[in-house]
Assembly symmetry: C2
Homo-oligomer: 423 residues x 2
């Protein structure tokens, strides 16, 4: 019998070759339509499989779960059931959608009941987020920022290669793709000015990140090793860590980024499981010095995921302004989760752990305007002739990602956010 | 008719003169007993008034609320009803408990049903905390820390007098008084060492703080002025922001405190309402330079609340090691909430906003071991002859607070935490 990731699998649903959502992917999300209240779905081609309906028809009866778990406005309750259940549900969905399986495809009424066209659905935020951490794990990004703001000769802080630097972020302002965000206001101080002023941010930036979502909790005082982390991680989303650079510069010493970040962070709606990404594991960069033992891991925990950022001006076309890859990370997510829990901090279901800006080694692969325009000194010229040092009002930022090899494409869809003027 | 705060009010319940919970206080909390599942209660003398039972007997029938709102394991749903409802419920509870009111006192069965002795109940965490921010708003504390770790001549960072510096903390590890906390492990680096090491924290500290809890949400993009903040703040609790100084020193540059804090923070179980504290408002310190207009306020928003910290060694007596006061704050909570929301960050019901360590100007009033022992260089000697530079395993830290004048005492109870060895 073929496994859910087998590139030879085909579905009875017609799926374009460049779709993000072939039968090998099957990411989970929360959707609603005028006729369906919020519930769990799985993306397949241009459709969503409504797991609430599938469960009502007893098609998960061999899996130990309450069918109502899919009739919820967040994935939290489902993913709290644990990895054996996520895996069993994904495998069963794969079976139901395969060529020659007639449990759904053999009944046209059932097809209409179970499948929703994606363009008719509204995607909601997939999880209720109890805690959010943002790491800073790309050595190229940390080096670029350190070079610009601190000392080019000592761009990385002394701790950087010894631990995955991170900070707690604001959970309340994480929003799903498609949610507009107003330009923040805040306190800033120009280097020459005598005193700070309050007003609209003038250096609004994106940060290209990938975030993992946990599906299993720990008790306060307990820790997770890097090798145990796979059992705690449900899947990944694209993450745009919106940043107000001018606010950040003035506020962040001594206690770190605060209002420069908390006005909004955007995530993609489909959570791509670690299981779907298994074939795209790659070796990460050599870590020198060797990490302390609580950060040591076996096997590969980096993932080859192509990432791109597009900037779409009001009324114009989307232009690609950056191409990066999640495999560029110095610290991997297993090390991040081990570090987060190393002091006994308890992990909760639905927590979001973002990677930090993912920059590569070349200018084209930098994951923020700060780096792409080198602090605003080298503006980008768009095909329409306009220039950008940072993000303008009415610009839309779109991030996309996919893992691909030998014709199989495991895509993330996109995270798309339009910036509106300050209120 | 007498108002709920009138010092002339008396209850039909006998209340000791030094009780934290006279009829003028009436703080809200969540409790459980072997016979009663988690629910909302109000502290009165040595008792808890069970609001779930009071509501079942239709004694809130003139207030527009669903009586089931008191039959919940967290206060969030009740406080989300808004200030007019909190106030109406507190006023009604005051009426029911007053001398000569016989609605409860006239029926001995009803008294037994409505009142629970505090020693028979277990207090639970009062709110589910969606977001937690820790400010840094005591000028004495910030000056002490800046003097020790940065530059005595420039102890305050340049932004400190222009904005209430703060950072996002970890919500998951906030626990209620009585919950033991294990000494954290973490990565540290001695100044002379070549490389960092991983092990048990050797500089475990408390921080004496007061936190406010919000009871009203805002939409993303909206801001609150300092004068509007009163409508958003439900009440206050004592807050012990446990800190691992050696972990903090190594990790906090450049992105702020992270694992040095997230292993646990302890709060007192009774939320004292702003209404109960109204008579204890005082003028705060002069703010020079004058804050920007979004931080300007009218009236008094500081509160005269006496605070103390006691250290109890295993098997020994509790010794007072610090006496401070919430009125020492430079930035008040209305300014803190205005700053937090100034960038459009959305506020949620149950958010916890802690003050930062509250230190006074004299050694006896410092709110952390770091300051009391000046970085561990001047140990405290306890009456049993033992010394402390930081906190030992099996030590218990107790924080207490009360506002008092002319015989009225509005108390907070306590937050008590025992430190267990690292796991």
């Amino acid at each position: 019998m073929l496994k859910a990731n087998d590139p030879g699998l085909h579905s009875w649903i017609e799926i374009a070759a460049d779709s993000d959502f072939p039968i090998q992917n099957l990411p989970f999300g929360i959707f609603t339509t005028p006729d369906r209240d919020p519930r769990v779905g799985v993306a397949i081609g241009e459709y969503i499989l409504d797991l609430c309906v599938v469960a009502q028809h007893n098609m998960f009866e061999l899996i130990d779960l309450d069918p109502n778990v899919f009739h919820r406005p967040y994935l939290n309750e489902f993913i709290a059931l644990g990895k054996p259940i996520w895996r069993a549900v994904r495998n069963r969905v794969s079976e139901l959608l395969r060529n020659h399986n007639e449990e759904i495809s053999g009944n046209s009424d059932l097809i209409r009941e179970c499948l929703v066209e994606q363009y008719k659905a509204q995607m909601l935020i997939p999880v209720q987020v109890p805690n959010y951490t943002d790491f800073y794990s790309s050595i190229e990004h940390a080096t670029n920022v350190g070079t610009m703001f601190r000392d080019p000769a000592n761009a990385l802080s002394p701790n950087w290669k010894h631990l995955p630097v991170g900070y707690h972020g604001r959970a309340s302002s994480i929003v799903v793709s498609g949610t507009n965000i107003h330009r923040p206001k805040g306190q800033t101080k120009a280097p020459q000015a005598d005193a700070p002023a309050f007003g609209s941010c003038r250096q609004l930036d994106f940060e290209l990140e990938v975030a993992f979502i946990t599906g299993r909790e720990t008790a306060l005082g307990q820790s997770i090793t890097p090798d145990q982390a796979d059992d705690y991680i449900f899947g990944l989303v694209l993450f745009n860590d919106w940043s107000a650079r001018d606010i950040q510069t003035w506020e962040y010493v001594p206690l770190g980024p605060f209002l420069a970040k908390s006005f909004g962070s955007s995530i993609s709606p489909w959570v791509v499981t670690l299981d779907a990404l298994e074939p795209f594991k790659v070796k990460g960069p050599e870590q020198d010095p060797r990490p302390l033992s609580y950060l040591e891991f076996t096997g590969n925990h980096h993932y080859d995921i192509n990432l791109e950022v597009l900037l779409q001006p009001a009324g114009g076309r989307a232009n690609c302004i950056s191409r990066s890859n999640y495999k560029y990370m110095y610290w991997n997510m297993n090390q991040q989760l081990a570090h987060q829990s190393s002091n006994g901090c308890n992990i909760q279901v639905g927590d979001v752990y973002a990677s930090g800006t993912i920059s590569g080694s070349t200018r084209e692969s930098y994951g923020s305007m700060l780096e792409l325009t080198w602090g605003g000194t080298q503006p980008i010229t768009l095909p329409d002739g306009t220039q950008r040092r940072f993000i303008n009002d009415h610009d839309t930022i779109i991030m996309r990602g996919y893992a691909g090899r030998n014709g199989t494409r495991i895509g993330f869809g996109e995270v798309r956010t339009k910036i509106l003027p300050a209120i």
